[in-house]
Structure formats: C-alpha cells, structure tokens
C-alpha cells in the first residue's frame, strides 16, 4: 500500500496547492510535482512485504510492486516530456495542475487495478484509470479533434466498462463470490461462466486495444494531446495487460481451454490488423496508435505459456515497450512543440538538421521493431520463447512475419528522417531541460534494459509470486 499512499499524498498536496496558490506561483507546480513523483518512484525500489488488506480486496506481491514502480517511472518520464508543453501552453489557461492531478489519479487507478483481489476492486481500478484520462483526452477543449476524441473515448469506455461489469455479474451468478482467491475452485466450465468470461474479457480487451475492440484507438490518439496519447498507449495499456495476465492465470484457470483459443485467435488478428493499418498512416500519432495495437498482439504471445516464463516475459516486454513508446512519443512531442508538425512527410531530412533527435527516434522505432542490441529485441525474443515453450511454433512464425511487416513501416519513418533530403526540413532546435531529461531516460531504458540481464532475471525470479 506504500506506493498508493505516497501517490495519494502527492495528489492531495497538489490539490491543496492548486486551491491556495495565486497565479504567479502556479509555475512552480511542475518541478514540485516532478520531484515528489521522483521521490515516490525511488522509494518504490525499496522492497515491500507481500500481503493483502481490505479483507483480501487489495493484494500486493513482489511482481506487482516492481510493476507499479515501472509504471511510476513511465509517468515520470512522461511528465518530464510534457513539462515544457505545460509551462508554455497550458499554464496560461490555468489548467496545468489539473493535468498533473488527473494523470496521477489515473496512475493511482492503475495501481488499484493491478492490485485487485476481487472483481469489485478491479472495477474500481478500471474506472479510476479511465475517467481522468477521458478528461485529459479532451484537454485542448477548443480544438475540434480533441473534443471529438474525448467524446469517442468516454462513450466507448463507458460501453466497455458496462460490458465488463455485466460479465462480472454473470460470473458472480455462477460462482457466488467476487474474490479472486478461491474463485477458480468454484468456477466450472458452464455456458454461463464462459459467457461471463467473454463479456469480462471484452471490457478489458477494450483497454488493451485488442482486435476487434481497437476501433477507438486511432481516432482518440490522433485527437488527444500527444502526452495523453502516450499515456494511453503505455500506462493504461500496460496495467490492463498485467491484470489480464493475473486474472487469466489464476482466476480463470478452469476455463483455460476456452481462453487459450480466444487469445490465440485474437493475437493473430490484432497483430495483422495493427500492422496492416499502420502501413498506410501518415500522421505520426495514428501511426504510433496502430503500432501499439500490433505490439499488444505480440504481448498476447507471452500469455499462452501459463507459467512463470509467460508472466516474466509479459512484464518484461511491457517494461521495454513503455521505454520504447515513450521515446517515440517524446520525439513527436518535441518536434510538435516547436513546429506543430505531426506528419511523417514533415519529418523528411530531419537528420541533417537535428541529428540527436533523429537518432533517438530511430532507436525507439527499432526497439519497437525488435532489432538488437536494443531492448525491444530481447522483449520480443523472450515472448517468442514463452510461446514456443508450449509448442506454439505456428504462432511464433506468424509473430515473426508480423515483426518483419512492422519493420517496414518503422523504416518508413527512418527513411524520411535519414534518407530523404528536404529544403524545408524542420530547422535545428534545442529542447529544454525537462524534455531532454525525459528523452534521455527513455533512451537509457531502450539501450540498457536488453543488455543488462539482471533486470530480466530479477523479474523472472519474482514471477511465480502469484502463481501457486
């Protein structure tokens, strides 16, 4: 509970500050929030005892604790990347503190989501993760795209959450309990249970942007401010993946024959749909939206090996994916903040004017594509290993074919930046300190997380803490 209380304290402090500060002091909010969040993240590296509270509704163990720290680090990098945008554009409208409060509240929701010990806490977490983001998506209220994205997001999320809770109610009807512990003992492979599971899964799959629940992703990412799209693609998705993993491995064990088939098919569909749509995108945000849909498909490969290897590879890949995606979105943010350009065509000739930013983008994209020595390669390779360990070689083959297809569209951006020459290339700009720090942290993650083996080995060693 330590990270949650810390985060809650930060949020309360920010609210108090917002209420009692005058206009001139508002600018101080950003460094203050960053420092506090940084402290909370660093405290997260200290070990925490496992256990449960609230009568079993809230659980924590070593793996969950590590993942919360990873999410917190991700949000820290994200806020660092957003700090300049907040200072320049948002403080004037008096909305900067609210931005940070909303993001941290959503993060708090993610914490509750993954620590859920019963379906009710799961739902609380799910809603707390979603609602603040709905406000964030529509943050640039006077831009038509932003408002439209906000409406799309809130309506689709409401429908998804409603579906999820309907599924939960059906599951309650079959088993008589909402607690995860002992749920698998009373769950039988009855039609009602399967139906309940499917509704529940659909609601959760919406958050992860799995096909066929992905339709909201591209439009919402395109309309939302870049940081919010970034947040949705990494934090929101990452937390949902982890709780899905926990729930599938422990609670729905009796239904394994059913959900393995579902995951198998949805993995293939998601990878193909994400990749095929990404091929034709010209707007960087939509491009990264479809790319993240495809990456979610890859994550499902790890879920197929229902054991320690599977959970370790999934958590590791999500961590690596957080760094890679934050790197890519960070560069998009940096470029958009000086030039308002978001299309791949506008990035042409970028290397000649801005070499460092182009290199960071290239590394982030190649990490997403899975090229060594970047971390994304190790993440993908280990996912394939998890799937192959249970004999799903055909699926691994489909996965690597999709990885090759994805390399093509990532190369399109690299091609624009490095290969093409452009007289109107975006001129040289220097990012400010916060953005630099955010990008550097993401890049270090991309470079180091793969080569530094103790990171994965540690995740593996704690991955059996929730399996019996």
């Amino acid at each position: 509970m330590r990270s949650e209380i810390g985060l809650l304290a930060i949020i309360v402090l920010l609210v108090v500050f917002e209420v009692f500060s005058n206009k001139k002091q508002k600018a101080a909010i950003i460094p203050a929030a960053l420092i506090l969040l940084g402290i909370n993240t660093i405290i997260g590296f200290l070990p925490l005892a496992s256990g449960e509270i609230f009568g079993g509704m809230f659980k924590t163990n070593a793996l969950l604790h590590l993942f919360k720290t990873i999410l917190s680090a991700g949000v820290l990098i994200l806020l660092l990347q957003s700090a300049d945008w907040l200072k320049e554009k948002v403080i004037a409208e008096n909305k900067a503190t609210e931005f940070i409060i909303l993001i941290l509240s959503s993060l708090l929701g993610a914490y509750y989501l993954i620590s859920a010990g019963d379906f009710l806490m799961f739902y609380i977490g799910l809603e707390l993760t979603t609602l603040p983001v709905a406000a964030l998506v529509a943050y640039e209220t006077f831009k038509q795209k932003s408002a439209e994205a906000g409406v799309k997001y809130i309506l689709s999320s409401a429908l998804a959450s409603g579906t999820a809770i309907f599924g939960i109610s059906l599951l309650y009807a079959t088993t008589g309990t909402l607690y995860f512990d002992g749920f698998s003992e009373v769950l039988t492979m009855s039609n009602l249970a399967i139906l309940g599971f499917i509704f529940f899964f659909s609601g959760l799959a919406f958050k992860i942007s799995l096909a066929p629940f992905h339709f909201w992703t591209a439009d919402v990412y395109e309309g939302a401010p870049i940081n919010v799209a970034s947040y949705l693609s990494v934090i929101s998705k990452g937390a949902a993946v982890v709780i899905l993993m926990i729930v599938l491995f422990t609670v729905f064990k009796p239904l394994m024959p059913v959900w393995i088939k579902i995951i198998y098919i949805i993995a293939i569909a998601t990878m193909f749909i994400g990749n095929l749509f990404a091929l034709r995108q010209e707007n960087m945000k939509r491009f990264l939206a479809y790319s993240s849909i495809a990456q979610a498909g890859f994550i499902l490969l790890g879920l197929l090996s229902v054991d320690q290897l599977g959970s370790a590879t999934v958590v590791y890949f999500v961590a690596v994916y957080i760094f890679s995606n934050l790197g890519a979105f960070g560069v998009v943010q940096a470029i958009a903040s000086v030039s308002d350009k978001e299309n791949i065509n506008d990035y042409e000739g970028l290397y000649r004017t801005n070499p460092k930013i182009s290199m960071i983008m290239m590394m982030a994209l190649f990490s997403l594509a899975g090229i060594p020595p970047l971390a994304g390669f190790f993440g993908k390779f280990f996912l394939y290993t998890a799937a192959a360990s249970k004999g799903y070689y055909v699926l691994v083959f489909i996965g690597v074919v999709n990885a090759t297809i994805s390399l093509y569209y990532y190369l399109l951006v690299v091609r624009a930046m490095f290969l093409r020459k452009n007289e109107d290339a975006i001129p040289y700009f220097k990012s400010k300190l916060y953005m630099k720090l955010g990008l550097i942290m993401a890049t270090i993650g991309i470079l180091v997380a793969g080569l530094y083996s103790p990171f994965y080995d540690y995740i593996f060693s704690i991955s059996n803490s929730f399996l019996n």
């Binding site: 060594p372 280990f382 394939y384 290993t385 390399l407 490095f418 290969l419 080995d457 060693s461």
Partner: protein, 495 residues
C-alpha cells in the same frame, strides 16, 4: 581480455571514437587505425591458432564463456576453429580495403564509417559466437546499418533496394528465429538442461520429427543471405545500389554468413534433417549456379554482372556444403574465402571505373586498359581468377568442390555435379566478354583519355585484396590442411 572478444571490442571502440570526429579526414583516419588494428589482429589470430592447434585438439579453441541470461541459459560464449579464423581474416581484410576504397566519401563521412564498422562488428561477433542466441543477436545487428548504408550513400533506386534488402533479410532471420527456438526447446532431448550452446546441442540427439521441421527453417534462414535461388532477389538490386565499400562488404563477407551458418548450425545441429532435405536444396543450389551464370551473361550493368556472378558462385558454396564430403566442404570454405576476396576486388574496381567515367554500362565502356593501366591490369587478373584460372584461389576452390561432389557415388549427386560443372564455361563467357569489352579494344569515348590514374589509396586497397587470392592459389596446402582438420568433427556428425 581474451583474444577473441577483442574482435568485437575494437570495432565498438572505433565507433565510439568516431562520434567525436568532425570531418572526412578525421573520420577516415580513425576508421583506418581501428580497422588496421583489426586486420593485424586477424593475421595474428591465424598464427596463434596454428600454434594453439599443435597442442590443443578441442573442436573450438580460445574459448570463453560468460553467463548472460540465467533464466534462459543464454551465454556470451565464443570460440574459433579453422573455418572461423580464415573467415575472420577475410572480413578484416575486406573491411580494411573498404576503408581505403572509401577514402573520398564526403557526404556524412562520420556516419558512413560508423555504420560500416558497426556492420563489421556484427560480422565478427557472428564468426566468434558459439551460443545460438548471441550468434543471432550479432546476425541481426547488421540490419540497422545496412539499411542506412544503402539508403543514404547508395545510387540509383537506393531507397527501394535498401527496403527490399532489409525486409528480405529480416524475413530470413524471422525464419531462423523460429528454427533456433525449435532447436533450443529440443536441446534437452537427452535429459540435460535447455541450452543455446552449439557444442552442447551437437551432443544431443534431437528427435527426427523436430529435425525435419526445423532444418528447412534454419537452412532457409541462412540460405537467403547466402543468395540461394529463389531467395536471392534482394541481391542484384541491393549490390548495384549500394556504395562501393558496402557492396564489397556485403557480397564479400555478409553473404558468407549464410554458408557459415549452414555449416555451423544447420548441418551440425540437425544432421538427420539435413540428410532428409539435402536433395531438395541441392536442386535449388544447382539451379542457382546455372541461373546466376546465365543471368550474368544478360546483364548490361557491370555491378549487376557481378551481383549475378556472386549468386552463382555462392550457390556453389551451398551446393558443396550439401554434398557432405570432406573435399567438398574444404572446397566450400575455400570458395567462400576466394569469392569473398574476388568479389570485393570486382566491386572495388567497378567503383573506381564508375567514379571516373560515371557509367557502369558495358556498352559505353571500352579500351580502359590504355588509360588506367594499374586498375585495368588488376581487373583482368581478377576476372581470370574469378573464372578459375589455376594459380589463383578460384581454381583451388572449384577443384575441391567438384572433385568432392563427384566423390559420392550417388547417381543423383553426380548428375547434378556434371550440370554444375558446365557453369565454368558460362562463367568464362561473361567474365571474358565483360573484361574484354571494357578493358581491351579501342577507347570508347575520346573524353576518357584524360581519366585520372589510380590513386595510392585505391592501389593499396586492391593489392591488399589480391595478395590472399594469389597466396591461396599458389600455396593452398597450409590452409586446406588447417580447414580439413577442423571440418572432421563436423563431418562426423553427418556420417
């Protein structure tokens, strides 16, 4: 620091120092020093290996093993035998010569040399690795630099060629990855632990069904980069569009990764699968030899002639490897070496001609020997060596391959060998026609009278590459004995 890891550390250090270079002069000096050290190390390695071999009879020598990922039993483990040693020497020589050939690369020179040396880093790592995962990592490291090298510094349809090449090679490594995972999860078939280590997997009897499924995947994964028909289509356009040093490195060295991978991984770890699939792939290889040769005849652009010729000669390597006899395998390795040097020579020469005349079309060139004596002479010698003139390495290689392939009394193999031998004649046709047309005869364009002669760095590059060709051609015994000794344990697995 062990002698082998230096081969990956020196390139990395060179790249890091290159970050601080400010212009062409500094970049090329740093690159030159780095690769000169690498070249010296590789020559030293040959002698150190011979000395070590006298006392040590393990399959691999100079081994080192560091645990990397404990949960998967992945190690950074290295080791060499004769085949690795000679191929490392090939790589070092070609890269070193390539630096000389790129002496005047003035568009983004720093990035060019960094990408080139990163490519070399991947290749060196590949040749010294004895752990499948690490091998695969080094194999894929080449993807990023090759795309940039062809796409930024290439010519002609460079973007398309770069994209096609990168995607096809990535697709091949995709297949290879599935194959490697298949081998990994069967490496405990005899009750041991799962492992990626090549030498340990070789001791395991992987079940036949698994071998039959995974052998083609691993084989095709390596054969694509080795230029096997019908997976060779990335090669002509890729080589033609690439800048000179990159074509040298790619055709001269990168395509050898295929043959080496087949030898070290596919045939060694999955012998039963190999024996079952050999005939199928032999037909493809034989077809590739003939197809490449006839394709080369039809080409009008010098680089395309060389690209198709490479497809033909490298299919010969795969052909020889699949024949599974000692002499054929010796020939395959020597052919890898010989072709590496010769094709690097050809691409360097073509680059020099193109740099002066600004055309690569055979029709437009003629009589260049009169105005470019040194380059012309080397061109003629290279052409003769390429078609297998005795006294040069090409003859030694092809002799071994054809004798070794014919040794096997299997009728099917012998018929294929006879068909493939006929490619010698076809090779002679396109080589002699090309060399004769552009070098001999009247000067095709009066403006060529004033072409600049060969510069010092061009001459050094060419001589560097020519010397091994002559050495292997005139004194092959030392190398072939060294290679034969190392081939023995690998061959035994298949017999």
């Amino acid at each position: 620091m062990d002698i082998l890891s230096l081969f990956v550390i020196v390139p990395i250090l060179t790249v890091l120092v290159l970050v601080f270079a400010k212009n062409l002069k500094q970049s090329r000096i740093i690159a030159l020093i780095g690769m000169a050290i690498q070249f010296a190390m590789s020559i030293n390695l040959i002698f150190a290996y011979i000395k070590e071999r006298a006392v040590n009879t393990d399959i691999m020598v100079f081994t080192k093993d560091v645990l990397w990922y404990e949960s998967f039993n992945i190690h950074y483990s290295v080791g060499v035998d004769a085949i690795s040693v000679v191929l490392i020497a090939l790589t070092a020589t070609v890269v070193f010569a390539g630096i000389f050939i790129s002496w005047k690369m003035d568009d983004l020179p720093k990035e060019f040399f960094m990408s080139l040396i990163t490519l070399a880093f991947g290749v060196f790592g590949f040749f010294i690795s004895t752990d499948l995962f690490t091998l695969f990592v080094f194999f894929e490291v080449a993807v990023i630099p090759i795309y940039l090298l062809i796409g930024i510094w290439g010519s002609g349809p460079k973007e398309l060629s770069a994209m096609k090449l990168t995607l096809m090679l990535m697709g091949a490594s995709a297949l290879l990855l599935v194959g490697i995972l298949g081998v990994y999860f069967n490496s405990n078939a005899d009750g041991g632990a799962l492992t990626f280590n090549i030498l340990e997997i070789a001791k395991v009897n992987i079940p036949l069904a698994a071998q039959n499924i995974f052998f083609p995947l691993v084989f095709i994964g390596f054969a694509v980069i080795g230029g096997l028909f019908p997976f060779h289509t990335w090669s002509p356009s890729g080589h033609a569009s690439a800048p000179t040093a990159v074509s040298m490195l790619h055709a001269g060295v990168l395509m050898k990764l295929g043959g080496y991978g087949i030898f070290r991984v596919a045939l060694y770890l999955l012998p039963l699968g190999a024996l079952n699939w050999a005939n199928f792939f032999l037909v493809l290889a034989a077809f590739g030899v003939i197809y490449g040769a006839f394709g080369a005849i039809m080409q009008k652009d010098l680089k395309y002639v060389n690209a198709y010729a490479s497809v033909s000669h490298l299919s010969l390597v795969i052909f020889a490897l699949l024949m599974i006899t000692k002499t054929a395998w010796t020939g395959a390795i020597i052919q890898s070496l010989s072709h590496g040097f010769l094709t690097a020579l050809f691409f360097a020469l073509i680059g020099m001609v193109y740099g002066r005349t600004h055309t690569r079309e055979i029709d437009k060139l003629g009589g260049l020997m009169k105005v470019l004596p040194f380059i012309g002479a080397i061109y003629v010698i290279t052409g003769l060596a390429y078609l297998g003139l005795p006294g040069f390495s090409g003859f030694v290689a092809e002799m071994n391959i054809f004798v070794g392939a014919f040794e096997d009394p299997n009728l099917f193999h012998r018929i294929l060998t006879i068909i493939v031998v006929s490619s010698i004649v076809v090779t002679a046709v396109y080589i002699l026609r090309m060399v004769g047309k552009i070098m001999m005869g009247p000067l095709s364009d009066a403006g060529y009278k004033d072409l600049p002669k060969g510069t010092w760095y061009e001459k050094v590059g060419l001589v560097l590459l020519m010397i091994p060709v002559v050495i292997i051609g005139v004194m092959p015994l030392g190398i072939s004995e060294m290679i034969k000794a190392s081939i023995q344990p690998f061959l035994e697995r298949l017999l």
